[in-house]
Amino acid sequence: MAHNPGMELDMGWVNGAVVDLPAVNRRAATLLTKRTVKKSWQAAWLLRAVTCIDLTTLSGDDTVTNVQRLCFKACNPIRQDLLDAMGMGDYGITVGAVCVYSARVKDAVQSLKQAGGAAIPIASVATGFPAGQVPFETRLKEISMAVDLGATEIDIVISRDLALSGDWGKVYDEIKACKAACGENVHLKTILGTGDLGTLTNVYKASLVAMMAGSDFIKTSTGKEGVNATMPVGLTMVRAIREYFHKTGFKVGFKPAGGIRTAKDSCAWLALMKEELGDEWMRADLFRIGASSLLTDIERQLYHFVTGRYAAAHQLPMA
């Protein structure tokens, strides 16, 4: 997996950022009319999307039961007969990671081991997800506890209050401290909470600050804001990733999350990565989709591709 060491905060760069919302909206709208994949290409792309999913459950009623079910599904995301029919039965298709609350990391570790998927990364949200409105020390403490429990990736939220007041220095410092709390081997994914940031210019600035502070991924949203992973937001963030790569040589990953539910959506996001960043950013080490119900829709589409019929929900194992 890519690793971003970060850099000194460069406020000149951050303050120079400007994003034209109408122009970004236009590109986001037309991009999807300019690219499409059909037939075998669609099936292959959907399988690739599966491998990039952070299969997620983040609910107040999460228990060991549904976390276990989720982990088993993560190891076997598509029905074996469908994979066989597509010649991919032996490919070892799994999702990119499972994503749970820090209190459920232990359940996930155990379940994945039982399901034979110990290699699948476990992402834990941390730092007072989703609002981040808890004292900073407890946020750091949550990270180190999740890591100790076996999380290999940490999804943190930035302090939107600091971002909105323009205190990018403080945002930078906090993310940097979180990165340190993660340690060497755990990947830091930073959620910008874009729906709380107001403008795309702020989204761009937050992306830059998060990358400068050493985030390995930048992620759109918690799924709990009013506006989640929309195409214009994604476009803005991947452009920031591209500029950061050009200036520093470091590749930072991208994770849209929240509101991505259809197979078609997942192909659109893959096309965005291909067009704006390149093929490298279409793999799980640099691209994840945070989702829960998306996988079901992809499995239905693949069922249709293989059989020519639309599946009933009960024919596919629920997550």
Binding site: V18, A23, T33, S40, M88, G198
Partner: protein
């Protein structure tokens, strides 16, 4: 599932390539086979296939595959179509506005009904991508019909002073075959005209299909006809005596030819021609968005767009960065068959156009330019040209100056916004421009500075029926779209349609200086004016009129004067006036250009005040000027007073309009603001009628200057003195130097040099039929706007004829500025 599929999916899973995404051509093929792959003209509601016509086989540029045979029409086909259109005009023009609105509405609905078929036909025949025909061309066709159905409905109230002109001959190019046809057809039909359309040779199918759709929608026979033929067939249509208006979109050279062909005939003409539109990227721009805008600007429709942003101007501190990003962006381009839904560019329309593009780029390369073309797959068959970026060129380079009409972008750096404006305007064209900056004052000032009919701020190539599209300078005149587009298809209600045939020799017309009068003494009796103070008889102080430019009276360059006689007695010389020649024209035009920027920047209120002040000062001299008019023209003193009084009233009328015709907000589909600004035309040459020496003069210069033009005006040939007296009124009314310049002398001689002057933007000529023809013919050289009377007099005392919207139309040109809005996307 076979093993092959397994390996295919595995391969795609690993390389994540795009696959084919074809749109089916079946529906288009079915329509063509209904016609046995052979199409005639569509005239008077039916297919017409005359015997013994040559045919033209139209092909798909994507593959070279033949699509259908079409007819090469001949003169009798034009005659038939025009006569049907003329007959249809009798009833169509008399229909209630609401009925015409229903017809246009029905066409819009039927276009939507056949959206997919039209989109496929257009993509197949032109080579452009199905995505563009589906998402741009055809939706705009429907939108135009809906919008103009509205203007048809409102024509009785909104266009009260106007009536249709008759039969419109529309000639359109191959780049947006149906969309550009619609831009002519909609306003023409809405205003009550009938149409004969000649589509371009390469792309005839969609127009023919559309004619059939209109017929299906219930449009009465003869109202809209389509004829096909070659270029000279188009000239036959334009020249047909019963064609009252020629509407053309296409290249500048063909537009110039049409101007010359129709000169002096009394036909209306509108031209939407070529361009070399700048894309200006300031360092305050969102650069990634600007790069995407560049893609929209110059690679849209393979760059075969008259408003293509083909000149990229980038602030020097971000130049390298922008170029790098454009190059990277182009590496993601996909080129392919027009029916593939996932391509960025299709094929060039023809082998000839492909060769032209290639020749330009090869030439640039040979002369040391840096030519970038991405290493992307290009289909082996078909006329595919890769997206191209050329740097290391300058203003002198051929690829920077000339329209290429292909996917070729040239890039130049600039230092400041001011220099960007200068570079942007350093072109013969003036169709469109875009400005990229997040700084509002910079963007707006550049939008105003650029001489172009459309300026997009932070976007490029957006179109809508509610905003006019058309050019400044050699990009043509007239507007397609918006309310402003209606004026190209109407004439004042009081006017009669007339056709004129005069022969002139354009080489010798007006060439001889001082013709008709010999500037020598001995032509009249000796001066009889005396004063007798204290019983001593002494002559009046000699008063010889000079010419007037740059705010001062100047001796004419030739040092010739011409005598002006009294009406009652050809022996009485009232005064000598200066006889102007081409150098006076040169000086006056220079003075006008010097004054123009300052005059344009004045507050409209200030321009109004000056014109009111003229009225005040004219009234002080009411008696004297009325007497002089009477002396010169032989009119009764009572009538002469009427002329002076009406002149004063007209100054008030135009003073009132100084701050009431600036433009409007266009209700386009843009989220944001589209503003139509009625800008001055620039420097206007005016030749006044002989009749009404004061009123004609005032009625013409006043509308021009209140709308911020500067004028070089030739007063009445016969009776110039009231206009020359007027320069004392100018001087006492605080009119800035150079705004009005008065050149007395021979009307046609001065008009010749004004019309031939490349820096005169418009010529208004009220004189002979011959002079009118000369002005229209000669104006073709730099595509000047003209307004001529074909030798017909108008009653300047009549309000309908001597003032009104017709004058405002000629005194302004519309610039539409598109300003998308918004910064906050969430809370």
């Amino acid at each position: 599932m076979a093993g092959n599929l397994g390996s295919e999916i595995r391969r795609i899973f690993e390389n994540m390539e795009y696959g084919p995404a074809p749109e089916s051509a079946d529906i288009a093929k079915k329509w063509l086979s209904q016609h046995k792959d052979s199409l005639g003209h569509f005239i008077n509601g039916e297919w017409v296939k005359p015997e013994n016509r040559k045919t033209y086989t139209t092909c798909s540029p994507a593959t070279g595959e033949a699509l259908a045979d079409t007819i090469q029409g001949e003169e009798e086909d034009v005659n038939l179509a025009v006569s049907c259109a003329k007959t249809a005009f009798q009833s169509w023009s008399q229909l209630p506005a609401h009925t015409r609105a229903r017809h246009l509405y029905a066409v819009a609905r039927n276009v939507q009904k056949h959206h997919r078929l039209i989109a496929v036909i257009e993509a197949l025949d032109n080579g452009k991508s199905i995505r563009e025909t589906r998402d741009c061309d055809i939706p705009l066709v429907a939108r135009h019909f809906y919008h103009y159905a509205g203007w048809a409905q409102l024509s009785d109230t909104e266009m009260r002073e106007w009536k249709p002109v008759g039969v419109v001959g529309a000639i359109v190019p191959w780049n947006f075959p149906l969309m550009l046809s619609t831009w002519k057809v909609c306003p023409a039909l809405a205003m009550g005209n009938t149409v004969v359309l000649k589509p371009a040779t390469f792309t005839r199918l969609s127009a023919l299909l559309f004619a059939e759709i209109c017929h299906e929608a219930g449009l009465p026979p003869g109202v809209f006809n389509v004829v096909t033929g070659n270029g000279s067939f188009g000239s036959k249509l334009a020249l047909h005596p019963d064609v009252d208006k020629v509407a053309f979109t296409g290249s500048t050279p063909v537009g110039q030819t049409l101007r010359r062909l129709t000169a002096g005939t009394g036909k209306k003409l509108s031209l939407e021609l070529g361009g070399k539109s700048p894309v200006i990227v300031m360092d305050t721009a969102d650069i990634d968005s600007a790069v995407e805008g560049i893609v929209d600007a110059v690679y849209f429709n393979q760059g075969q767009v008259c408003s293509a942003g083909s000149r990229l101007l980038v602030q020097e501190n971000i130049f390298d960065d922008v170029i790098q990003r454009v190059k990277e962006r182009l590496k993601h381009f996909r080129i392919g068959h027009s029916l593939d839904k996932a391509i960025d560019m299709g094929a060039i329309v023809s082998q000839a156009q492909y060769n032209t593009i290639k020749e330009y780029v090869d030439d640039a390369r040979a002369t040391g330019a840096d030519v970038f073309q991405p290493d992307i797959p290009v289909p082996a068959k078909g006329f595919y040209y890769p997206p191209t970026l050329i740097t290391n060129v300058q203003t002198v380079s051929r690829v920077v100056r000339e329209e290429i009409f292909g996917p070729v972008l040239v890039a130049l750096p600039f230092r400041t916004a001011k220099e960007a404006g200068n570079l942007g305007n350093n072109t013969n064209y003036g169709l469109a421009a875009s400005v990229w900056s997040e700084n509002l004052p910079t963007a707006l000032e550049l939008a105003i500075t650029l001489k172009a009919g459309t300026v997009w701020v932070n976007c490029h190539n957006l179109f809508d029926a509610a905003a006019g599209f058309g050019g400044y300078r050699e990009s043509g005149f007239g507007r397609d779209g918006g309310k402003e587009g209606l004026y190209e298809y109407v004439m004042p209600k009081w006017e009669q349609t007339t056709r004129h045939h005069v022969d002139i020799d354009v080489k010798t017309f007006g060439a001889s200086f001082g013709s008709g009068t010999t500037p020598t003494p001995g032509q009249g009796g000796p001066s009889k004016s005396h004063l007798c103070p204290n019983g001593i008889q002494q002559p009046l102080v000699d008063h010889t009129y000079k010419v007037y430019y740059g705010g001062a009276q100047k001796r004419p360059d030739g040092c010739y004067s011409r005598p002006i006689y009294a009406a009652h007695d050809k022996q009485t010389i009232v005064a000598y006036v200066g006889d102007s020649n081409r150098k006076d024209v040169r000086n006056a035009v220079e003075a006008a250009h010097k004054a123009a920027p300052g005059w344009g920047k004045r507050a409209a209120h200030n321009r109004a005040q000056i014109v009111y002040y003229m009225a005040e000062n004219l009234e002080l001299r009411r008696q004297e000027i009325a007497q002089r008019i009477s002396l010169l023209t032989g009119q009764t003193l009572e009538n002469s007073f009427k002329e002076v009084d009406l002149s004063i009233q007209r100054l008030f009328y135009w003073g009132a309009y100084a701050d009431k015709y600036g433009g409007n907000v266009q209700e386009t589909t843009l989220y944001g603001c589209t503003v139509c600004i009625r800008e001055p035309v620039g420097v206007v040459g005016i030749a006044c009628p002989d009749e009404f020496p004061l009123l004609g003069f005032v009625s013409l210069f006043a509308p021009a200057i209140v709308r911020a033009n500067c004028v070089v005006i030739i007063p009445s040939d016969k009776y110039p003195i009231p206009a020359l007296d007027f320069y004392q009124v100018f001087d006492t009314s605080d009119l800035p130097a150079g705004v009005v310049n008065v050149l007395s002398g021979n009307k046609d001689h001065i008009s010749k040099y004004l019309t031939e002057h490349q820096n005169v933007d418009a010529m208004w000529y009220f004189g002979s039929a011959e002079g009118s023809k000369f002005v229209e013919f000669t104006s073709a050289e730099n595509v000047k706007r003209t307004w001529v009377n074909y030798g017909k007099e108008r009653d300047w005392m009549d309000h309908d004829q001597g003032q009104g919207e017709e004058f405002l139309y000629h005194a302004t040109q519309c610039k539409n500025i598109w300003m998308p809005m918004g910064t906050t996307f969430s809370n």
